[in-house]
């Protein structure tokens, strides 16, 4: 059996998950308390998993670096969550959601996984409503839906601009109930630093108490990483400041393959940067594109003008011009590239940063005229407020300015159909795995995936793993436990005592971010990527020579936390570039400048690149394993949004 056996069921697509669940081994209720499961991260995937496992009767230990499980970055998702309920009777179905997700991912995801996701989407809505998630309602009392991010059906459920927050509160409260029951033991302000592997199986973790700096070891029968994505590698992104790739990177170094690291998504509707030392970018929900019209001045000379003084005929509604069928609702990558292109041409608006104006207008004046201020306020009120708070501009009166920003990573730890990585006993869920979004993710699909993994998939597949394996008791002083603990200690010592300590973690993070944004963003090319790999190698050497962490390690030390995370981002950044370099095609969220059609559109290469690029850690450099994708049900087509 090859290591990259995805364990996909066969047969009719509609029956695969049902049949698989039936074939999975079970653990009897009275035996469940004998098993212990470690869950790292408490976003939608982690907290929903803790809730479900706890309720089933397992012993669960959960960890998060935030001060409360409720603060995980899932809370920031604004737009909504997809489900194929077809409440709006507009022709939606499980099959259509499946089809849209595969197509949106540009045919780089596994059919079985994606179908399962579409199938489970409906149960997520049921679950969330039962928990008291206050979704938007119609006057009749029924759930409301909207169309979102380029889909032609209204299948998105939402809670104003706070869908992520509300869904996470639902999962967090369900998890809290299990904490009260004593089945889940939660550790906040705790960061996982190492995975303990014994006889080829993940059996525990080394954790740093972020308040005292104390390191502790925790053993269990399996470990689940629900630790989110890695676009903070770009430094400026829409992720929370604390989001990091360290847990998945530890997994990678212990033998879990990292899949498609170059597949990152750049979101088109973010608030443009206004400062050179800005700490993060803020996303404006994509739902704004439903009613807002995107434009830039036709002439570069108009860019400094007040937008009100630019006449209609001098405005270029470029998405409507370039893509008349989908117009302002083209997929994220198409919109992002078009916006960046306009700004690179010198037609951007707003404050100049490093000599370029990074912004285009997102204009609501037409919809305000059409449906009235009150209606617009009802739909987007809190988003407009948020925009005004940050920029000091009133979007009811003057158009918003937007610019693309790194937002989501489709890549992540390779997992099979059971969401297990190539390291036995190590599972990955939510954004931390690579499984369902292919080379690009559709809007309102991330929440769906995190919750499908946590509420419905892992509870079944973990039970199967536990039932089919035997677990020796681990002594606290087991050689492998000590080894992992010492590795974590040694690393902290190295970070605290660089030979020529000079630069803060931020210094290196900003440098890395600049390299990645310029070489491994939306548009990539061989020479730039090769150069980036060299630059990152130099940066890594410089980092370990000159990283400066003040304070002590036996204390709450945020500089030390950041330094450790940046060290991992640097290594991951190099792998992102290596993967991007290897992929000689334009696909999903990115284009390779060498692979464009004569019309300048992305050119995918199914003959040579219809595979998942799974990288195995090796000291002398990551080794590629290609897992080819087979499309039995949907014929890969060329995406065309013209």
């Amino acid at each position: 059996m090859s290591q990259l056996n995805a364990n996909e069921p066969v047969g009719p697509l509609e029956n695969r998950w049902k049949k698989h669940v039936f074939d999975l081994a079970l653990i009897a209720p009275q035996n469940r308390k004998k098993y212990k499961i470690i869950v790292i991260g408490t976003g939608l995937a982690g907290s929903s998993l803790c809730a479900t496992l706890g309720q089933a009767g397992y012993k669960v230990s959960s960890f998060c670096f935030q001060d409360s499980a409720r603060r995980a970055h899932s809370i920031a998702a604004q737009g909504g969550i997809n489900a194929s309920k077809n409440y709006q009777n507009d022709g939606d179905s499980v099959w259509r959601l499946f089809y849209d997700t595969i197509k949106g991912g540009d045919f780089r995801a596994r059919e079985s996984n994606v179908y399962r996701l579409a199938e489970l989407s409906n149960r997520i809505i049921d679950q969330a409503v039962a928990q008291g998630v206050p979704f938007a309602r119609e006057y009749s009392g029924y759930l409301a839906n909207r169309s979102f991010g380029g889909t032609q059906v209204s299948r998105t459920f939402y809670a104003k601009g706070q869908t992520g927050q509300q869904l996470l509160l639902g999962a967090y409260s369900a998890m809290s109930r299990q904490v009260e029951n004593g089945r889940v033991t939660h550790h906040a302000r705790s960061e996982m630093l190492e995975i303990i592997t014994i006889n080829g199986k993940a059996r525990g973790v080394v954790v740093r108490n972020l308040v005292t700096g104390e390191l502790s070891t925790h053993t269990a029968d399996c470990v689940v990483l629900c630790t989110g994505g890695y676009v903070n590698a770009y430094y400026l992104s829409t992720n929370a400041k604390g989001c990091n790739a360290s847990a998945t990177w530890r997994g990678f170094k212990q033998g879990a393959y990292f899949a498609n690291p170059s597949f990152t998504q750049i979101h088109p509707t973010c608030i443009p940067p206004t400062l050179e030392n800005q700490s993060k970018l803020t996303l404006m929900s994509e739902s704004l594109r439903n009613d807002g019209r995107i434009w830039a001045p036709k002439q570069a000379k108009d860019c400094e003008k007040n937008p009100k003084d630019i006449k209609q005929e001098d405005r270029d509604y470029f998405l409507e011009r370039l893509y008349p069928a989908f117009a302002n609702l083209v997929p994220r990558d198409v919109a992002s590239r078009a916006v960046k292109h306009i700004c690179d041409e010198g037609r951007g608006v707003g404050i100049k940063i490093h000599g370029k104006r990074l912004g285009v207008y997102l204009d609501f004046s037409d919809v305000i005229k059409k449906i009235g201020l009150a209606q617009v306020e009802q739909k987007y009120g809190n988003l407009f407020e948020m925009y005004q708070r940050i920029t000091d501009d009133n979007p009811y009166l003057t158009p918003m300015k937007i610019y693309p920003a790194p937002h989501y990573s489709m890549g992540g730890l390779w997992v099979d159909y059971n969401l297990m990585t190539t390291l036995d006993g190590l599972f990955a869920a939510g954004e931390a795995n690579f499984s369902d979004h292919g080379a690009n993710r559709l809007g309102a699909s991330a929440l769906m995936q995190g919750l499908a993994d946590g509420y419905f998939i892992l509870p079944q597949t973990i039970a199967n793993y536990l039932a089919r394996n035997t677990f020796d008791k681990i002594k606290p002083n087991h050689e492998k436990v000590e080894q992992a603990l010492n590795a974590a200690k040694a690393r902290i010592e190295q970070l605290m005592n660089a030979p020529k300590a000079r630069h803060s973690p931020e210094y290196f993070h900003q440098k890395l971010g600049k390299i990645l944004w310029e070489s491994c963003g939306m548009s990539r090319q061989r020479t730039r990527l090769e150069q980036a790999i060299d630059e990152i190698e130099v940066l890594q050497l410089e980092f370990w020579q000159t990283i400066k962490v003040t304070g002590i390690d036996q204390d709450l030390n945020q500089t030390l936390e950041r330094a450790g995370r940046v060290a991992d981002f640097i290594e991951l950044g190099a792998l992102m570039c290596k993967d991007a370099l290897n992929r000689e095609e334009s696909c999903g969220a990115h284009v390779r400048m060498e692979h464009l059609s004569s019309e300048g559109e992305a050119k995918r290469d199914d003959k040579n690149y219809s595979f998942v690029a799974a990288w195995a850690y090796q000291q002398q450099g990551a080794k590629l394993h290609e897992q080819y994708l087979h499309f039995e049900f949907i014929k890969p087509s060329v995406r065309n949004y013209k």
């Binding site: 809730a51 479900t52 309720q55 001060d67 409360s68 409720r70 603060r71 970055h73 920031a76 309920k85 149960r123 809505i125 049921d126 679950q127 969330a128 409503v129 039962a130 928990q131 008291g132 206050p134 938007a136 309602r137 006057y139 009392g141 029924y142 759930l143 809670a159 706070q162 927050q165 509300q166 509160l169 967090y172 409260s173 369900a174 109930r177 904490v179 939660h186 906040a188 308040v211 929370a240 400041k241 206004t274 400062l275 030392n277 800005q278 700490s279 993060k280 803020t282 948020m386 708070r389 000091d392 509420y455 803060s504 400066k548 003040t550 204390d555 709450l556 030390n557 945020q558 500089t559």
Partner: protein, 241 residues
């Protein structure tokens, strides 16, 4: 812009803290309050000093991690705003700013500007949920929810659990936090059944965690970055009967 900062520094829960004076210049008005502190910390690293610890994460006003009492106001004086979304243009150039952690015995200081808010988690654990099993819920549209109730429930549910209401209250009461959770769930038909019991449990837990009671100072709603309304407290009192 230039600012004179008096920042509360405290080694840990058991040592005495004090204000330390810092001067900072070259601050852009479009920098957020936390970015201003980032800039200060970068200077401290250059000087070889331990950085000022403060909680933050999303930096877009939704995670509830950031705190800070600024010139006496939790999250600063600007209404309906978290500290991470407060911009330096709100302050006059060369002004003096006093920056402190949340002050409440139920939120002990961990270090500098960071406090332990795990009491809020324990309040939710004591019953801040609908006791539904996961994984086997009925069809969502079988339960209809009146739009007004759904909207009001949502408004209560927007609480981000930051603790500003406690920090501003003379009694260090968590009544607004608790009332918002009770209201969020009680207004929905699926949460109504347990509502009285839930309200009792949460209030008892709030008291046992050492938070004070409500004596109608009403500072909480003004300090709340999410505009959680006092009406929630009225609703809670009605439920408690």
């Amino acid at each position: 812009m230039i600012f004179t900062l008096h920042i509360w520094r405290q080694k840990n829960e058991n040592t005495q803290g004090r204000f330390v004076l810092y001067e900072i210049d070259n601050i852009n008005g479009d920098a957020s309050f936390l970015e201003m502190l980032d800039q200060l910390n970068e200077h401290l690293i250059t000087q070889g000093e331990d950085c000022i610890v403060f909680d933050y994460d999303c930096r877009e006003g939704i995670c509830g991690a950031c705190s800070l009492v600024i010139n006496g106001y939790p999250h600063g004086q600007k209404s309906a705003t978290t500290t991470c979304q407060l911009y330096m243009r709100e302050y006059k150039n060369q002004s003096e700013l006093w920056i402190e952690p949340w002050r409440a015995s139920s939120f002990p200081v961990i270090k500098d500007l960071t406090v332990d808010r795990s009491a809020f988690d324990r309040i939710i654990q004591s019953g801040g949920y609908i006791s539904v099993h996961t994984g086997c819920a009925p069809e969502a549209n079988n339960t209809l929810v009146e739009k007004y109730a759904a909207d009001e429930s949502f408004n209560a549910a927007t609480c981000i659990g930051c603790g500003a209401c406690v920090a501003v209250c003379p009694n260090a009461s968590a009544t607004l936090f608790v009332a918002a959770k009770i209201t969020h769930l009680a207004l929905l038909p699926q949460g109504q059944i347990e509502s009285k019991n839930r309200a009792k449990k949460l209030i008892l837990k709030m008291q046992s965690e050492g938070f004070g009671g409500c004596s109608n100072h009403r500072h909480c709603t003004r300090a709340c970055p999410k505009d959680i309304s006092l009406q929630n407290i009225t609703r809670m009192n009605k439920i408690l009967g």
